[in-house]
Point group: C2
Chain length 332, copies 2
DNA sequence: ATGAAAGCGCTAACAC
DNA sequence: GTGTTAGCGCTTTCAT
């Protein structure tokens, strides 16, 4: 497509590029152009369907009005909702979103951060992979505005929005114990991720408070990329080791799903046999297990706050780091 | 962040901008620079963490390496998977993805298309809202490379990738009838969307083939924005009108979910009472209703093919339109 | 009330 | 082998 430029408009209107540029960027009034000229320019631009070349504008202005977002997976319901929330907020602030996903791979994450910086995005929102310390430190050094969501590094001073993983997990596990569970299994993933470590810690605290002892045979760690098959083999192992397990705490939604699939396929009446708890909700979980104690992350809030913080940082790069820990909602 | 430019590199290396530019863009060999110079430049660039300013590069080259994608909702599992698939493919072709969502609103869609064109994306992938004919026609007129996914307009010649809605729906409904259902309800949405009309048509064909008659009281149409509450009121109505309904065909995943939620909360043993069929699968559906006849969209394929077609069109704008109708996978 | 021109950082045709 | 320079389309300072 051969695009119409400001020069084209100027030539046809017998005006200068400057005049047209000012008027089209809404500064016509301010700079004292006559109403007639303003009308003439805007009408003409509209009539020929003129579209500002944002690339040129960005180069000139040194800002792109693009926000980059990096997540491990887009098709995880959690990140999908997060992105949706961010998109909505970003739209209000007149930015567009550029999305990349890392497949939880630190190398790819480093590369993508680089790509987006090359793209000169105005800021970044990142749900970082484990082991991405270097990239994050580099971003700080480069003074690129960014905010971490969901995951963060407790020893690096950055903007971030996350959830109270430990406290919430503690609550859920206590709840299971109060309902009478004595042998509560922990089904978790990627324990080198700080949020997951916190959830594990919360589980331990919950056990302790209820006078239950920690048994490592009750703890299952599953890798995200192979969680479907791993769930089966690991649960097989668990039921063999501890046949009378009577409670489950899942640190994230998809693990709960797979366990339920397992329960059903093994004809276990999980509604009465176990007490269940889960960190984070997803569509269908409440239908499959209405009795489950779910600690729901406020995804919407997380996206909105992250975006707000980011826009503030973009406006003032020297603003001190803002951290926000959102409280989950407990669905009993 | 004060970014390092090619000029900075050139000054420090006592070389010209051109030399540095050529070498960094990998044309050093071709243009006959000495290996020593090439090494010197690339090493230095790396050491100072130089990042190409893609904005300037894009302006100069007239291409951005950005692909825009527009969907109704990001947090719908179908679109989330689609985006994930597209992202993976786009990444291979060295593009990044800019995402916007329309909330199924044609006006917003028009605006977003404009925004992305302003951004000078190299191409667009669009799951278009109903009533967006004008925007699409304009895109054609402007010769912007684009491909429609999922939804398309049968009377506009464009690139698109979609599914065989009618045939597949027909199969599912026939299957329900063969299992013995006599009164099969159709639960659908947005009938002004061509894909949904086709699914309805498939339903009708299925009935006809099985010698069942169409009864409009068996047809429920639900609006996406209010589907949760609408599902309840509409199903209430259905069961009042036709208490002996014995089959359900859902034209999309979330409608099936809500119906099952309804069945469970009304203590209906839906496993034995009805035969169920659904257009498109989603996590949890197979767990909730293992007996359901699901016609699964090949989302991965859809994303990959759309991206491939788009990159071809970007390379040759005059290439004739390509259409692709993917076959669903029937899970019985 | 309007215009001329420099500059944003990069590419590539052309020169030597 | 390497350098000079015009140009991509827009913004904005400085003139008039």
């Amino acid at each position: 497509m051969k695009n119409i430029s400001i020069k084209d408009l100027a030539d046809n209107l017998k005006l200068s590029k400057a005049t047209v540029s000012w008027i089209l960027s809404g500064q016509g009034k301010k700079r004292g152009f006559s109403d007639a000229t303003i009308k003439r320019v805007t009408n003409y631009a509209k009539s020929v369907n003129y579209r500002t070349n944002m690339v040129a504008r960005s180069l000139s202005l040194g800002q792109t009005n693009i926000i980059g977002i990096i997540v491990p997976y887009i098709d995880d319901t959690f990140y999908a909702s997060l992105i949706q929330a961010i998109e909505a907020e970003v739209y209000k602030h007149n930015y567009v979103l550029t999305i990349c996903c890392t497949d939880e791979n630190a190398e790819k994450e480093a590369l993508l951060i680089n790509t987006l910086c090359s793209q000169r995005v105005d800021g970044l929102i990142i749900a970082t992979a484990q082991k991405s310390r270097e990239s994050i430190l580099q971003l700080k050094k480069d003074r690129v505005p960014f905010v971490l969501v969901d995951r963060h590094f407790s020893d690096i001073d950055t903007n971030y929005v996350t959830v109270n993983s430990e406290e919430t997990s503690h609550q859920v596990v206590s709840h299971l114990a109060n309902q009478g569970s004595k042998k509560i299994a922990l089904i978790t993933t990627s324990t080198n991720l700080s949020v997951m470590r916190e959830r594990t810690q919360g589980y331990c605290n919950g056990l302790q408070e209820s006078g239950l002892s920690y048994d490592e045979r009750l703890v299952i760690e599953i890798d995200r990329p192979t969680y479907q098959s791993d769930s089966i083999t690991q649960l097989d192992r668990l039921f063999k080791d501890i046949p009378d397990v009577d409670g489950f705490f899942f640190t994230t939604h998809y693990l709960a799903f797979e366990a339920i699939r397992y329960f059903i396929s093994h004809d276990m009446d999980y509604h009465s046999k176990f007490h269940l708890g889960c960190f984070h909700d997803t569509l269908g979980l409440g239908i499959l297990a209405p009795e489950m104690c779910i600690s729901k992350i406020q995804v919407q809030e997380m996206g909105t706050r992250a975006t707000q913080i980011l826009t503030e940082v973009i406006e003032d790069v020297n603003r001190p780091s803002q951290c926000e820990v959102l409280k989950n909602i407990l669905l009993k």
